[in-house]
């Protein structure tokens, strides 16, 4: 009765591939229901303005236009005009939920004001251009630092200040730590992350069935259950009359976890017009209206003794929250938690200020604030090394959480109050392996030799610990159908991370090992009423645990029934493929189909195994409150062209540990993708806004994603420290790659620029930024985003409304 483990831990081919490779899989814009109407949104051209009126007359005359709706038109069908989509927190000081449509005031460029419904997208977009919105521009809050000054206008006209939330992390005796320190180093950091930019934008299709009265919303979301809740509440529908389905998702990377105004509007219109309504976002709209991560300003100091042992870290973090609360405070919260995770830091105090601006709301992008926390900590340690003339790796070696400390209780709490307990891993060994592969010790000689040839090469190191597997659960149903196939249904939602394959491997591991028998239904609220979806590198941990438990329960039922039918002890039975047979007697067998039919019962007859109940099915929602922590160490080697500011990444290697790997090829795929995103954050991706909070990078020609020629050959190494916190021993991996990457690359660039004594406390470092830092030309003032960072602490502390 040993489970078939050959499928678990193997780099098997993906279930998802065939449909995707042949073009048969259906993404949101591929759904073409008969009679579908198209929606186009009229959006705010201003960062902040009053709306004095909306004239839809000309738009209504466009051939093909069915309706043009403003909030006034939709309001009778809505229970509220605001969308409650944020996670709760006691730290909020302002209540700024997004509007379904803006009616009297717009607070960011791209905020939807009206919707046009027409026979085609072409007609809808033509008409949207003809909707006249009478706007009266108001003062704009474009910078989250200025937003906290006492004389700043409010990002919303009725607000007297912009401090949407304030909270802190505080443990240990911080004052003592700094009083007793031998060395105190203080730094300011400006960190910018842009958008997620899944290649598929957002989109939604609503269809109301007049026969059943049911409204189905297909939407490109990471959280169909979350969207359903908002739709039911806002449309005043009971849960049975709404179904939300995530079709094939063309990448999420964070922002698709939010429920957006467009989803609500499309749902209302589908119901109102009794015809399917589709909205497909274009890339320009993605830049304007899909949530981003954007700006953080850190002002921090670290206290160490003469041996470089950390005594404490303290400081402040200013976080650009955008114009509304679309998800909560999880990004700055995760930044603050990520900073001290990998190291023994006896005292920590961080004041966090989340600040409203007239920009599209901020919510997690892959990494969700953690890369920034890692960046700050790693850069501080590099400064400590420089200050004490120690090797950068040695400073880390002395302070990393050690293996014998595991499980290591940190004096930190997760956003829901659960304690942070690092479950497992050997962080120093991970770092050593990375250094060894990188040839860290010998790099100095190479660097010197290169410098003698006029070449500037550098090396950087960054460690990270990522919180993964956010609970409390994900539901999974496993059923062997009477036709003999295995159906897995779950609230987990796939957006490219191979969720179906991962779950199929776990289930097949218990049920015969044949993946071709398994199909996985993800992200359909009718198939699985309770669920959360895909975010926070969670699904392998939480959905994996439930899949494992459910598959084992079904396996028990299979064996109980087969044992009676084959007249053999359960311990003598085995499953191979769809056959259940007596060990060493392969002819004494029953198939899944035979067993599932028998288990279904016959009218008037007793069930074959009364205690198993009918069918071969089990549903499990394994509750996991504690997160599990992946870790890793990354080393980047770069060359900087000092004449152009161009950076070439010569090598990038990472040693990572996400516990037991269900499928190593998929793990590597996730890590590599995360690194690519991190390289973008280090060198390329800059979401620009002008002083009026007008976006200035709204195409892929202005906002640069990493392309194939900018990717170094990656060197990936695994360690597998099984987590003791779940039965499979797994940890999440979806975001890991992007956590250490900007920190390692920026450290390498700074190392390469040693002769210039350049301090790099910001990301991204585009060639223009770097060139400006290497050769600041007298009399030429660099554009704002080129300037070296720095918070005017005194000014904002004075102005801040605490």
């Amino acid at each position: 009765m040993t489970p078939n483990n050959s499928v678990l831990g193997a780099s098997v081919s993906r279930l998802e591939d065939h449909g995707l490779l042949t073009g048969q899989s259906r993404f949101i814009d591929d759904l073409q229901l008969p009679g579908t109407l198209s929606a186009a949104f009229v959006r705010s051209p201003y960062g902040h303005a009053l709306i004095n009126g909306v004239n839809t007359e000309a738009a209504c005359q466009v051939p093909g236009v069915v309706a043009v709706y403003t909030l006034t038109d939709l309001q009778p069908w809505l229970t509220d005009t605001r969308m409650a989509t944020g996670l709760p927190s006691n730290s909020f000081r302002l209540d700024v939920n997004p509007r379904v449509l803006a009616a009297d005031e717009v607070v960011y460029v791209g905020e939807p004001i009206a919707v046009v419904i027409a026979a085609s997208r072409y007609a809808a977009e033509d008409a949207a251009d003809l909707v006249e919105v009478d706007c009266e521009p108001l003062e704009v809050v474009a910078d989250c630092r200025a937003a906290l000054l006492a004389d700043s206008p409010g990002a919303h006209r009725k607000l007297s200040h912009n401090l949407v939330a304030a909270f802190d992390f505080d443990y240990g005796h911080v004052e003592d730590a700094f009083r007793q320190a031998d060395v105190i180093i203080n730094e300011s950091f400006r960190l910018h992350r842009g958008g997620a930019h899944s290649i598929e934008g957002r989109g939604a299709v609503a269809s109301h069935d007049p026969v059943t009265g049911k409204l189905t919303l297909w939407t490109s979301t990471q959280r169909p259950h979350g969207v359903k809740r908002v739709i039911c509440d806002l449309l005043g529908c009971n849960d049975d009359s709404v179904r939300v389905v995530a079709p094939q998702i063309g990448g999420g990377f964070g922002p698709k976890l939010v429920c957006y105004p467009e989803e609500v509007v499309v749902a209302v219109c589908g119901k109102l017009l009794q015809q399917p309504v589709k909205w497909t976002q274009d890339r320009y709209e993605y830049f304007l209206s899909t949530t981003q991560e954007r700006d953080q300003y850190w002002d921090v100091e670290i206290a160490v003794d003469n041996d470089a042992m950390i005594k404490g870290v303290r400081g402040a973090l200013l976080h650009d929250h955008g114009a509304y609360t679309a998800r909560g405070l999880n990004v700055p919260y995760a930044s603050g938690v990520a900073l001290p995770l990998a190291y023994n830091i006896p005292a920590y105090h961080l004041d966090v200020y989340a600040v409203l601006t007239n920009k599209v709301p901020v919510t997690p992008v892959r990494g969700a604030g953690q890369p920034q926390g890692v960046f700050v900590m790693e850069r501080l340690l590099d400064r400590v090394a420089a200050g004490l003339s120690l090797d950068r790796a040695e400073v880390r070696r002395r302070n990393l959480v050690r293996k014998e400390q595991m499980p290591c209780r940190k004096s930190l709490k997760l956003r829901g109050g659960t304690e942070v307990i690092l479950d497992s891993g050997d962080y120093p060994a991970t770092q050593e392996l990375a250094l060894e592969h990188a040839g860290w010790a010998a790099f100095g000689e190479r660097q010197q030799a290169a410098l003698e040839q006029g070449r500037h090469i550098g090396i950087g190191l960054a460690n990270f610990v990522e919180g993964t597997g956010r609970g409390p659960y994900e539901t999974v149903t496993v059923r062997i159908n009477p036709s003999g196939n295995i159906l897995v249904a779950t609230g987990a939602t796939a957006m490219g991370q191979s969720t179906q394959t991962m779950l199929a491997q776990i289930v097949a591991g218990q049920l015969g090992g044949d993946l071709s028998l398994v199909s996985v239904n993800c992200g359909d609220t009718d198939a699985t009423p309770l669920g959360f979806g895909g975010f926070n590198s969670r699904q392998t941990v939480v959905a994996g645990a439930s899949a494992h438990a459910a598959a084992r329960a079904v396996r028990d039922k299979v064996f109980r029934l087969a044992s009676r039918r084959l007249e053999a002890a359960e311990r003598d039975l085995e499953i191979n493929g769809h056959n259940v047979f007596v060990k060493d007697m392969p002819d004494r067998k029953l198939t899944f189909a035979q067993l599932a039919r028998a288990a279904s019962g016959l009218p008037g007859f007793k069930l074959p195994v009364a205690e198993s109940g009918p069918g071969l099915e089990a549903t499990e929602s394994v509750v996991i409150d504690d997160m599990v922590y992946s870790n890793g160490s990354a080393v980047a080697e770069v060359e900087v062209d000092i004449d152009t500011g161009q950076v070439d990444i010569h090598r990038f290697l990472i040693v990572h540990d996400c516990g037991r790997m269900i499928n190593p090829a998929l793990v590597e795929g996730q890590v590599a993708g995360g690194i690519a995103h991190g390289i973008g954050n280090a060198l390329f991706e800059w979401m620009g806004f002008d002083d009026n909070a007008q976006p200035v990078t709204t195409t892929f020609a202005d906002y640069l994603l990493v392309s194939a020629d900018k990717m170094p050959a990656l060197e990936l190494f695994h360690r597998e420290s099984a987590s003791p916190f779940n039965e499979l021993g797994v940890k999440g991996v979806g975001e890991s790659g992007c956590l250490p990457t900007p920190a390692a690359i920026v450290a390498a660039i700074e190392d390469a620029l040693k002769p210039f004594d350049v301090k790099l406390n910001q990301a991204p470092l585009t060639p223009a930024v770097l060139w400006g830092l290497i050769r600041p030309a007298p009399g030429i003032s660099a554009p704002e985003h080129w300037r070296s960072p720095g918070i005017d602490t005194a000014a904002y502390r004075k102005g801040v409304l605490l």
Binding site: T22, I199, Q248, A672
Partner: protein, 157 residues
């Protein structure tokens, strides 16, 4: 925009008769009028390459071409790659090398590679990378796509 143009498009060696507005992009017509939704639209401004198809042997951004411009040309899309259940070698190489995750950009990459390899059957590594940098992928970090191309080149060689 009430005047429509009757077009015959030759897609994957099959004729499609459609009535379209002059301004309709080839991508939209292939997807919406011909029902071949495997050609996916990622940016609608010609940078991401997701909508890449092959027109008269050359890789083309279908979002930057109007449908009437394609009349009389031989068009190949992702739906024309596999023979029944048998995947094209490029499709197989993508699966073998885990060169796709969400799969949204994949048809564009496959069509780009298919057209390019016709002209460049024995490319050097740098040339492959240069070719792949024409399209964007947000999931994979490209290295597995590069490996897939190497596998195909080896098979062809």
């Amino acid at each position: 925009m009430d005047s429509k143009i009757a077009l015959r498009l030759d897609i994957n060696s099959r004729d499609y008769h459609v009535n379209v507005e002059a301004r309709q992009t080839l991508a939209d017509v292939i997807r919406e009028e011909c029902g071949l939704t495997g050609t996916r639209v990622g940016c609608e401004h010609g940078v991401c390459g997701s909508c890449t198809i092959v027109v008269d042997g050359a890789p083309v951004r279908a979002c930057l071409m109007f449908a009437p411009q394609a009349e009389g040309k031989k068009i190949r899309t992702i739906e024309g790659m596999a023979e029944g259940d048998d995947l094209h070698p490029i499709q197989r190489a993508f699966s073998d090398n885990h060169a796709l995750q969400c799969g949204f950009c994949t048809p564009g990459f496959i069509m780009l590679i298919a057209a390019w390899l016709e002209q460049n059957p024995a490319p050097a590594d740098g040339e492959i990378t240069g070719m792949l940098s024409a399209n964007l992928c947000r999931c994979t970090g490209y290295r597995n796509i590069f490996r897939a191309v190497k596998q195909i080149v080896a098979e062809l060689g």
